[in-house]
């Protein structure tokens, strides 16, 4: 696949605010690419720069090999789906869809054929002569898509297209968008603050914060191996342990003797407040004595009444169940371990009623493999609000991926407890 779109070192300032800060990225032909981030992270500005509604202060925008930075919006082969749809209220749906071709002065016969084809694609042939205020939000969305696609843009830009719809409709449009993308094979550039939408639709995601890209990768890469604590907290649910790197792990000597023990450079030992020392895979260069955050996703944790069988690189901690939320397909536990409140998600793969479920106030063991945690630098103070988002709010958008970010307040108070000097 070749590159259809490239941002080269693009910046845009509004007064002192850096809306977009030296962003470079490229999108491949036919890709479904998402710009994901909280409001104010610069994702919409980047989209508007590509559409031509904003001029970047520095940098170039390359579309299909051609530098379009200085072209006006109407000379760029991209089309936008606006958040408000921006259908023309005084024109019928048919005329709305035909607008692009009419402006391009295409022959009448061709316009008619193309518009009818589009109406068939969005399954609204029978409503062609209605006005936009006579149709529902979901239908407006489809008309907006048809109106853009009829021009065969190199890239279709979607600016939070589902934000104005209610939950049920949003889920249906999500599937429709995916089908449209497969059907027309056009490159989609999708802007959203909803990680559920981005995860389920995208081939690749660029997570943005404060005008720059935090991480770029496939949904799985971003979820499984977040590079910053912002990404870990913004995408999905996670537990943060505030700790200090105690150095490379000492390998178990196969002979158990007194000979010098070789060091396992792959894993590090971490000191986390009053918890037992934990192990974590070295996914990046970390110095001894460095302060880090260990992030562990709730679904990577195993919960059990009995202590788990010891195994190499298995982290085990003990705690008390503080809260149990039964969610049907899964159960969510909040477990108090020292100063931490840890969230655990257990999938129910077996028939549950035969088991005696773990209850409130029970003593439990939590375990996870050292490979399942990742070490991150400390997050910004500004990102704290993000991490404290209540689980319910975001959890609605997708069912399979555990969403919502969680880390309890205790973790922040726990900061002081963790600052034990390394000896």
């Amino acid at each position: 696949m070749s590159e259809i779109l490239e941002f080269v070192d693009v910046s845009k300032h509004y007064g002192a605010i850096k809306a977009v800060d030296h962003v470079s990225l490229s999108v491949k032909q036919g890709e479904f690419f998402s710009l994901l981030g909280p409001s104010g992270c610069g994702k919409t500005t980047l989209l508007r720069i590509l559409a031509g509604f904003e001029q970047p202060d520095t940098g170039r925008v390359i579309l299909g090999g051609q530098d379009v930075t200085d072209l006006p919006p109407y000379e760029r082969k991209v089309n936008t789906i606006f958040q408000s749809y921006a259908l023309f209220p005084h024109l019928s749906l048919w005329e709305n869809i035909a607008f692009g071709l009419k402006v391009a002065k295409r022959p009448k016969k061709e316009i008619k054929e193309e518009v009818d084809k589009m109406l068939a694609l969005i399954q609204m042939e029978d409503q062609a002569w209605k006005k936009p205020d006579q149709i529902s939000g979901g239908q407006k969305q489809r008309v907006a898509i048809a109106r853009a696609l009829i021009n065969k843009p190199r890239v279709l830009l979607l600016d939070e297209p589902l934000a104005a719809l209610d939950l049920k409709l949003r889920q249906r449009m999500l599937i429709e968008l995916d089908l449209f993308h497969d059907e027309v094979g056009i490159t989609f550039l999708y802007v959203t603050h909803d990680q559920g939408e981005a995860m389920s639709l995208s081939d690749r995601i660029a997570v943005m914060s404060h005008g720059s890209i935090e991480q770029l990768g496939t949904p799985a890469e971003i979820y499984e191996a977040p590079r910053t604590s912002f990404v870990a907290a913004f995408i999905g649910d996670t537990n943060f342990f505030d700790g200090i790197v105690a150095g490379p792990l000492q390998k178990h000597s196969p002979f158990g003797g007194t000979r010098p023990v070789p060091v396992d450079k792959e894993y590090s030992r971490l000191i986390i407040g009053d918890l037992p020392d934990l192990e974590c895979y070295n996914d990046k260069q970390i110095k001894e004595g460095e302060r880090i955050f260990l992030s562990v996703r709730p679904e990577k944790l195993r919960i059990s009444r009995e202590p788990p069988k010891t195994a190499p690189h298995l982290n085990v901690i003990e705690g008390t169940v503080e809260d149990v939320i039964y969610l049907g397909a899964q159960t969510k536990y909040w477990v108090k371990v020292g100063a931490y409140r840890i969230s655990v998600i257990q999938q129910h793969s077996r028939f549950l009623l035969d088991e005696i479920p773990i209850k409130w106030q029970e003593h439990v063991w939590l375990s996870w493999h050292a490979d399942d945690g990742f070490m991150l630098e400390k997050y910004d103070e500004q990102d704290e609000n993000l991490i404290l988002t209540p689980p319910e709010e975001v959890g609605e958008t997708m069912e399979d991926v555990p969403i919502a970010v969680a880390a309890s307040e205790e973790e922040y108070r726990g900061d002081s407890a963790a600052e034990v000097p390394v000896s």
Partner: protein, 260 residues
Amino acid sequence: MKHSRLPAIVTWLVMGFFYLPILVLVANSFNSSRYGGQWESTSLKWYIRLMGERDIWQALRNTLAVAVSATLASMVLGTSAAFALHRFVGSRLQKLHYGLIYMPLVIPEILMGLSLQLFFVSLNVELSLVTIGIAHVTFCLSFVTMTVLARLQDFDFSIVEAAQDLGAGWWTSLWRILIPMLAPGILAGGLLAFTLSIDDFVISFFVAGLGSTTLPIKIYSMIKYGSPPLINALSTILLTVTFVCVLGSHYLSNKGQKAA
């Protein structure tokens, strides 16, 4: 609780003061008697007599010529002014601009008339229908600007961006999207301007030259030298036209509000 009757009484009194004289005028226009005091019989005699009055028809033609051209000019200028005011809201120059546009709405008409006359005379411009038209534009402009500005305030400009995004240059987006969508507001302002122009007396009186008598000026001189019943009939017609225009303007701005 017993409701006080006072508000209702006051309302009816005010309505009476406002509209009774007009009703008397309208009624008298159908009175065949020459004097308003006594009722002889209902007739359309004055309306028929009106048909034969060449001077009055000439005055009506003048009035319409002035009103139509002043309205069209102020629709174009007023819409452009509203765009500028909306687009650069907050800048100091535009605050001054707004003040200038707003001024004719509050300034005493006699002052406007007098200053316009002095202006034309000092420039050695001959007073004519053209000067009346220019004078009318000065105040018609304000009404169009205010109406269009109100419509622009809740206008979703992403629609214009959408048009450009779909390949329309600014000229096409102006004619295919912006103007049609704002048309109700522009027309409402225009109708308002039209009604103000056809019945303007004070300003027209100052800037009218020989042979450029408009209808209100004609009516004024008829009261002095002519026959009152004819004026009643003429005023009734004028009243009806004004009323229809105001209703139309109101309907259009309501319709525009709903569409947005």
